[in-house]
């Protein structure tokens, strides 16, 4: 039983940590619920991650891609996401005219925390309802346990000299 409990605990911990340990691909590209502020951080809408075959791109990759792409290239990607990689890769610019890297724009808005979408919002509210319900149920059982522990203690059940177990005739009857 204890082994099963340990396995369940480990699984629960892993489940709890897993969404945060690995950012889901395409998460950043959904726009998020942080309003206008997130739009300045996230790459252009309808970008690479929505294209088939680009599912392995992490938000970091997507972000880095946004930084080096010229505005023209970005437009191409947004218009035809499926062919974005093929179009962008082979066209090598002349060595003399290397396009200057565009400095990332400085964010000027305050980021207000918000849910990424209705799905996340519902999940969080359900989780909170479950949390408070669990707390209520656990407290109910803990109170029973506390009462029983107090009763046993006040009855001096575990005191070697005064234990009511000594007055229990059952062990003698059973020959123990």
């Amino acid at each position: 039983m204890r082994g099963i409990r340990i396995v369940i605990l480990l699984a629960a911990a892993a489940l709890l940590l897993s969404p945060f340990l690995a950012a889901r691909p395409g998460q950043a590209l959904q726009g998020g619920g942080a309003g206008a502020a997130s739009a300045t951080i996230a790459p252009p809408q309808g970008g690479v991650a929505s294209a088939p075959g680009a599912t392995t791109a992490t938000p970091q990759d997507a972000k880095a891609k946004t930084k080096v792409e010229t505005p023209a290239a970005a437009t191409t990607v947004a218009a035809a996401p499926q062919t974005a990689k093929i179009e962008a890769a082979p066209v090598a610019p002349a060595p003399a005219k290397k396009p200057a890297k565009k400095a990332p724009e400085k964010r000027t808005e305050t980021i207000v925390p918000a849910f990424a979408g209705i799905k996340e919002q519902t999940a969080v509210y359900v989780f909170y309802a479950w949390l408070w319900l669990s707390i209520a149920v656990l407290i109910y059982f803990l109170r029973l346990w506390v009462r029983e522990s107090d009763r046993v203690y006040h009855a001096k059940y575990y005191e070697p000299e005064e234990s009511p177990r000594k007055a229990n005739p059952l062990p003698q009857v059973l020959g123990d």
């Binding site: 082994g3 998460q27 998020g32 502020a37 996230a42 969080v124 656990l138 803990l142 522990s149 107090d150």
Partner: protein, 356 residues
Amino acid sequence: MKIDMKKVGAWFDDRLALTPIFKYMTKKEVPQHEHSIWYYTGSSILLFLAIQIVTGIMLAFYYKPTLEGANDSVARIMTEMPLGWLVRSIHSWSATFMIAFVMIHLLAIWFTKSYRKPREATWMTGMMLLVVSMVFGFTGYLLPWDDLSLSATKVGTNIPNAIPVVGKWVTQFLRGGDDVTGDTLTRFFVFHVCILPLVIFAVMAVHLLLVQKEGMSVPLEAEIKKKKVPSLPFWPNFILREVMIWLVLLGTLMTVALVFAPSLGPSADLMSPAPAGVKPEWYFLFLFQTLKIFPGNMGPVTGEFVAVVLILLAVVAIFFLPFIDNKPEGKKGKIINYLGVLGVIYAIVFSIWSLL
């Protein structure tokens, strides 16, 4: 393959000597009286510290302590990481809860006079834990690197400047230079995640050891009249009650973190002037206001110097309180209780004044 859990348990017990610890826990008794509720504040601090460690590690996976990356990485945690904003909020709010509980714990000990002999060292380590917790808060406040945190850190790290001889050196040490820069940010990050955790664990270990050694204090009256105070076993009677309180606190923390999640301002500009309404964290507000009410010059010295010296003297006096209040049952003890009430009123009034 079937694992014999009894054998596994016996193996661990043999190596870690768990049986004597469990035996000690069942034998340990907690006094039960009208002030027993304050015993629970101590373990609640541990709960919040544990939450801080877990959420802090989660945030550290993505945080970048550099001038260019700090604000952006926090923005990324808030907008790109699933529920990153909630994790950040829990971390921030558990810090607030922890410091609030450390303060309540200390005040409870102050007013019940539990610091009296032989618990002087327990009080002193507790005071050290309060200071370390506040330094934790101070270093963590800069990490999001927005205008407000930068300005508050500039003000905070400038305070030691008022102390003669060592003041300038202390400020330079805190900032990693003459001004708050990227070096300060890296320095604060190292303090926040490396040095302070080591310090808090070391001091907490000594504090808990002393609590176990001396046991929990009984009310002063009962001690003077040599009355026998009823008690309960630590395990399971007391610990089960603690678990109930932890559950309620956990739910409260999670709810507060969801409803009042902190926002993130734009990245700080080192060249821009301080924004209006710069304020430190709530637990520094009364000190901030104290510094503000002192005039620029007070005779040969600056007002700031006088304020800093007074604050330092107060901290030193509180640290050595058990030795000052060496007869807690007498008149001195009553005066110290009144001073405690005055101190609480002063802290509340000045904090509110600072917010107005």
